[in-house]
């Protein structure tokens, strides 16, 4: 079979449209690549980005509501967008607390999938997730009839073996559910927690790296960057093809 290149006009039309469509992404790829190659010179890792859109992409935006609870009489436990704070100190990544069980040497903050053990001063002693607990999801916290703390789950109810909360015993008796009362914090306290939550933001290096690979926009961004790479190959191919294909005008002038 005799294969022939398309007409030069067709190749150039494809080349032009491919160039226009991929120009924006090629530009992004080139600029971010240049910047990343000179990270230390440009001090990209020392430039924090705190724009709400960027923080939202990294799951750091203040989209959630602040929930606060009293703990250890005068202290406050705060939950904000998957993060727990003890007063103004970051404690752990966790979902909303279901109960706070205060003990003599260890207090326990119980969430759906984690138990966070705290000292009376609010220092984190240990964090146990559901992979190491006798249940998968906690639904509530309660007390047994003899006033022992109780963890209530679809996989059964459990009491700590002792005050150290290392091992758990199954409990099948009657119990009372203890609800956790939230308090209403003032605006300045909420702002302090928001600032702590967002920290100094995300470094420009990290943002440029994820923009370069397309990861800043998840799999959609990665796919677009993959397509851009394919577009580069096609642009090179169509450019060379157009160069190899003589234009009809030159052909006519050559033959006359």
């Amino acid at each position: 079979m005799n294969w022939q290149l398309p007409r030069k006009r067709t190749i150039l039309a494809w080349h032009r449209w491919l160039g226009i469509v991929s120009a924006l992404f090629l530009l992004s790829l080139a600029i971010t690549g240049l910047a990343l190659n000179h990270t230390e010179l440009l001090k990209l890792d020392r430039i924090p980005i705190q724009h709400p859109f960027i923080l939202e992409r990294y799951g750091m935006a203040d989209t959630g509501t602040v929930q606060a609870y009293h703990i250890h009489a005068s202290d406050i436990l705060v939950h904000l967008d998957g993060q727990l704070f003890y007063n103004d100190r970051a404690l752990a990544s966790a979902s909303q607390p279901l109960g706070i069980i205060e003990g003599e040497s260890i207090s326990v903050v119980a969430t759906a999938t984690k138990l966070i053990y705290l000292s009376p001063q609010g220092d984190c002693i240990e964090i146990i997730d559901n992979h190491q607990l006798p249940y998968r999801t906690l639904t509530a916290v309660g007390t047994t009839l003899d006033q022992r703390p109780l963890l209530i789950s679809p996989q059964g109810n459990w009491t700590p073996e002792d005050g150290y909360w290392v091992e758990f015993d199954a409990y099948n008796g009657s119990y009372e559910v203890a609800t956790l009362e939230a308090i209403a914090p003032n605006d300045s306290a909420v702002q302090t927690w928001l600032n702590n939550f967002q920290g100094s933001g995300v470094s420009l290096y990290r943002v440029l790296l994820d923009l370069h690979s397309g990861r800043l926009f998840g799999w959609g961004g990665r796919t677009v960057m993959d397509l851009t790479a394919v577009a580069i190959i096609l642009l090179i191919s169509s450019g060379i093809s157009a160069w190899l294909r003589p234009s009809p005008r030159n052909h006519q002038s050559g033959s006359s």
């Binding site: 992409r57 984190c124 240990e126 964090i127 998840g218």
Partner: protein
């Protein structure tokens, strides 16, 4: 024919519909790892991190280990530990089994990063078998890296040193 606005809308939806979060991959449930590591059910214990231990841990892994105590499982001279260390942005949950003064096994239990999951394969984890810590808290042999998984390899190497140190502390008690 679709208007450019429709195409633009679809493109923005695809781009913005997903964030950069990685997915948690559970390769081996910690409770199964513990059950597989001992012939009989082990005793669950806790090691309190005293000031001296915390200083040593910081020297080994380069930062404070979160919390004031670490739980472990013991049967005779054999211990198992489930420790976490951040590779790039998310913690890697890793199980270690130790006996005598050396490591018997290392398994990656839960991986949460988007890159570097190759560290879970035996060609990498088998290197940790027989690993020992000298008096200066250095490993007796080097750990070969994996291209594209450098941060995860470094995190697991640090954790293996920590596990050996913690095991040594429990044997001294």
């Amino acid at each position: 024919m679709y208007s450019y606005r429709t195409i633009l809308g679809v493109l923005i939806y695809i781009l913005c519909g997903h964030s950069v979060h990685a997915i948690e991959q559970v390769y081996l449930e910690p409770e199964i790892f513990i059950a597989q590591s001992f012939d009989d059910p082990p005793e669950q214990k806790i090691l309190w991190l005293t000031k001296e231990v915390k200083v040593a841990i910081k020297a080994i892994i380069g930062h404070d280990y979160p919390g004031l105590r670490i739980r472990y499982w013991q049967q005779g001279g054999r211990t198992a530990w489930i420790l976490e260390e951040i590779g790039k942005v998310k913690p890697i949950t890793t199980g270690f089994v130790l006996e005598g003064d050396e490591m018997c096994a290392m398994r990656v239990l839960i991986y949460r990063e988007s890159h570097g999951w190759e560290v879970r394969y035996p060609f990498f984890t088998d290197q940790f078998t027989g690993l020992r810590l000298d008096a200066s808290n250095r490993l007796n042999k080097p750990i070969d890296g994996i291209s594209g998984a450098t941060l995860s390899v470094n995190a697991l190497t640090r954790l293996s040193k920590l596990a050996l140190y913690l095991h040594r502390k429990t044997q001294a008690q």
